[in-house]
């Protein structure tokens, strides 16, 4: 990764240009060509550094969402994690070091649909699902300064 890639990752986490040719606008700012910026972002995306260029939505502004956790026996973790990841309503799914070892975020268009998703996971896996919806937001911004080593 070169300095140009780092700037593309670092400087455009907020306020991505809202104009007809945003990549050209970035290119102009960095003194590069539009095609250089596009191919660099495509490369960063394929290499897994960029998840997407898009919106982080305020929780509860659109539909319903929650954080849920399960205690999955270790010999079933791969199978249960794969089942949960495969659901369209799940967007983050992590293994964590705790008795509650599987943590995921689920979203749906309303509370009823969301409950249905969690109930389905419980019924299909035979495991309890702990539901921890957000009650209050003290800070939300998934962007953060990158300290390049």
């Amino acid at each position: 990764m070169d300095d140009f890639d780092k700037r593309l990752l670092d400087e455009f986490q907020h306020d991505f240009p809202l104009c007809p040719h945003p990549f050209a606008s970035i290119a102009e700012r960095l003194g590069m060509g539009e095609e250089d910026v596009l191919s660099a972002y495509r490369h960063l995306s394929e290499a897994g550094y960029v998840s997407r260029i898009g919106a982080v939505i305020k929780p509860h502004a659109v539909g319903a969402s929650t954080l849920a956790a399960m205690c999955v026996p270790s010999d079933r973790l791969e199978e249960v994690a794969a089942f949960v990841s495969n659901l369209d309503e799940v967007n983050h799914n992590y293994e964590r070091e705790h008795a509650f070892n599987l943590w995921f975020v689920a979203t749906a268009q309303d509370e009823d649909s969301l409950s249905q998703v969690l109930n389905d996971i419980r019924d299909k896996t035979g495991l309890a699902v702990m539901n921890l919806p957000m009650l209050e937001d003290y800070h939300l911004d998934l962007g953060f300064p990158i300290r390049w080593s």
């Binding site: 990752l9 455009f12 986490q13 306020d15 991505f16 809202l18 007809p20 040719h21 945003p22 990549f23 050209a24 596009l38 972002y41 897994g48 960029v50 998840s51 997407r52 260029i53 898009g54 919106a55 982080v56 939505i57 305020k58 502004a61 659109v62 969402s65 994690a81 794969a82 949960v84 990841s85 369209d88 309503e89 799940v90 967007n91 983050h92 799914n93 992590y94 293994e95 964590r96 070091e97 705790h98 509650f100 943590w103 979203t107 749906a108 268009q109 539901n131 921890l132 957000m134 009650l135 209050e136 003290y138 800070h139 939300l140 911004d141 998934l142 962007g143 953060f144 300064p145 990158i146």
Partner: protein, 165 residues
């Protein structure tokens, strides 16, 4: 902010992010029946209305070497949680800070703060800093490190777009 069907469709179409092409807003708009100008205008309104909290590059922190993603969880007395939460959320290394319900007896924690760092020791040192600066030495807490990331992508809230097609 009141959202209309076009907003829902736009948010849904944005879940996978902008296409990396010269005119991504025109491409996005075409998927939901909006012009390029309308698309940019709707996104600006959603940002101004607070529905979109951040619009830009979403990086994969695992891939960037911020592999130690520690979810710190705290059992804060209900009367203090809003105050402690706001102060905790202001630390630069805290990237998310939420109050959530306890789930007794299995889960005593009501405050969640995500702490990112390049390695585990750094995350733990940052959690120690929260303990000392916020006076939480007597508060029960834990740090849950992530081991494997099975999935990360933008949220899909509605399925109206699919239903409409």
């Amino acid at each position: 902010m009141e959202l209309n069907d076009a907003d829902f469709a736009l948010i849904e179409a944005l879940a996978d992010g902008l296409e990396m092409v010269s005119c991504p807003y025109a491409v996005l708009g075409a998927r939901v029946g909006l012009s390029e100008e309308e698309t940019i205008g709707r996104i600006e309104s959603l940002i101004a209305g607070g529905v979109i909290r951040r619009f830009g590059v979403v990086v994969q922190h695992h891939r960037l070497g911020l592999c130690a993603n520690g979810m710190s969880v705290w059992d804060i007395p209900d009367a203090d949680v809003a105050d402690v939460g706001q102060r905790m959320g202001a630390f630069p290394f805290v990237t998310l800070c939420y109050r959530r319900p306890r789930c007794l007896p299995d889960w005593p924690y009501n405050l969640f703060a995500m702490v990112h760092g390049s390695e585990r020791q750094i995350v733990l040192a940052q959690v120690d800093q929260l303990v000392s600066e916020l006076g939480l030495a007597t508060v029960r807490h834990d740090v849950l490190f992530s081991r494997r990331q099975f999935k990360q992508r933008g949220a899909r809230y509605a399925h109206k777009l699919e239903a409409a097609q």
